[in-house]
Symmetry: C3
Subunit: 255 residues, 3 copies
Amino acid sequence: MHAPVELADSAAEILARLRARAPRVHCITNSVAQQYTANVLLAAGAVPSMTIASEEIVSFVASADALLVNLGTFDADRRAAIDAAIGAAKAARMPWVLDPVFIDVAPTRARFARDLLARGPSVVRLNSREFAALSGGDPTGDAPTRLAKAHATIIALTGGVDRVTDGVRNLVIANGDPLMALVTAMGCAGSALVAAALTVETDAFVATGGALAAFAVAGEVAAQDVRGPGGFAAAIIDALYNLDRAVLRQRAKVS
Amino acid sequence: MHAPVELADSAAEILARLRARAPRVHCITNSVAQQYTANVLLAAGAVPSMTIASEEIVSFVASADALLVNLGTFDADRRAAIDAAIGAAKAARMPWVLDPVFIDVAPTRARFARDLLARGPSVVRLNSREFAALSGGDPTGDAPTRLAKAHATIIALTGGVDRVTDGVRNLVIANGDPLMALVTAMGCAGSALVAAALTVETDAFVATGGALAAFAVAGEVAAQDVRGPGGFAAAIIDALYNLDRAVLRQRAKVS
Amino acid sequence: MHAPVELADSAAEILARLRARAPRVHCITNSVAQQYTANVLLAAGAVPSMTIASEEIVSFVASADALLVNLGTFDADRRAAIDAAIGAAKAARMPWVLDPVFIDVAPTRARFARDLLARGPSVVRLNSREFAALSGGDPTGDAPTRLAKAHATIIALTGGVDRVTDGVRNLVIANGDPLMALVTAMGCAGSALVAAALTVETDAFVATGGALAAFAVAGEVAAQDVRGPGGFAAAIIDALYNLDRAVLRQRAKVS
């Protein structure tokens, strides 16, 4: 599974299945990220839904195929919606992804994220600063592996390179482009793509690696003929929409 | 009115009047759709406003030219805002459009949408699943015509082809592009465009058909030289901005 | 400072410092404007944060470098968040910008904006109608200069040309493109850029003029090869990302 060709093939199969099955991913995410996240999901073949209203969150989650919980906004209503949504996802044995945005800035968020981690997300996707705030550990050492093992989850650390671990297996994806950091909600959209992948690939480690590899390769392709982050934001959606096995095999840098 | 040239001309006149008069459309819509809806309205010559705060919704609606009610978010505050907004629109004899998003997923939304239908929207724009949830009828039969007649409204069913009926007259618009379904808020933006058209064309059936034909033709033009839904989202806005009578006459497929 | 070359150089230095220092601008802004505002800040080298939740607004503002207060949404929660945010900004002697969106439509907003003006924003950015609603004065006369002097603030009136005054010094920036008015949140994003500039240029008059000149010149560059507002929305982000001293010197029309 660690060989580039294998992960490239897994990524290609995940995309093919998403395009064929159109799973719905319910996203509890912040209003900054909603539109871009929805468009990335649609480009990949999935269907987004986004409501956070307490009256209907359970209906929406129960009939979805996966759940994304992003902490980009953090108020009492949102926390109640998250609690109900996770309950509905767990009742339906549905995969769910935790994206603990900005928990390094506000301590109340970090505590809430630790409570959510205890509820058993399929995957936690975050950056180095957020990892440090979540676990107290060093993101560059073996703390991610230990955290994944302790919580029987996948830790996906994204940044210059992406690192994925399930506590035993480890992947490093050295794709992507610096422009990805200059478009708001790019990380949030990547988390949504992971949630979509979990609906069509039962090995959560492979699903996470495949989704992140596909997104990072799409970023590389998109960066080739744009002038800046404005054009790039659209181009990566187009690259993801058109991504195929040949390009994934040619470009994926996985170890 | 059913001949393509006539509807193409009506669409061209609607666009010309929007560009000349810049009517303001107040949109109660979900946060996923707000930005794209605003940009489509601006490209067509209209002016969007979007607040849902109870303290000011009546001020904003009373001074607008049309109202859009989109159920993409559904909480107690939003329902109260919708109630007050429809009251203000009716008091001012202002056209209003109902877009009952996702009522097929949550039964509470469907009930609320039926209550809103009873308040007499000028137009209801929705897809086939939403139509079935609203009326219980078969969207492919004569149920749309009967619903329009019963409620003295326009039913606009959008999808692969768009069908518009006022209970007596019927239009089918066979334009558009599959990429339209891969950009979030495209349907919501189409509903907003219908609301704008109602401010400059008193025959609501013609306004609805003209707006949807213009949007679908813009989608066809936009699809010609893009690589995917990312570029398409911007290109359809540009196509709408530049749309003229000649292109409408050449491309509109109306029956 | 009034000579075009001087302001062009100031604008270039502001951009260079933003790219080097990556200050964080906390934006309390409406959901329509959040995504675009975030992307403009990122393209300029700054980092956006956007939460308005009462539980964490003080943490986010206290650790930011500047604050933007945009009245695009106006409810009790938002007003409480604004109150706490301004308190945190003032406690940290942090610059803050007031953008009193649409106060010409709702009188309750205008009163609230006047209260905020009394709390001493570093800069107020607004259009002519909003200026009239805020001050009761004629935006084309010397009312802006008097208002700036009376409140020891900068008044930045944007529109066909942008006018900046601190009550003593006055600038007119005759750049920009009409397409800027056809993209939602363009003004809001301009206000955010002013807030970012205030973190790297201590003379608030120069910071405001430099940021608005950079944004308007980026708009001119972007308008050169686009077909409409859809492509323009991305192109101005790319132009801002690539903007350099040579282009600023060549294009800035300042008097």
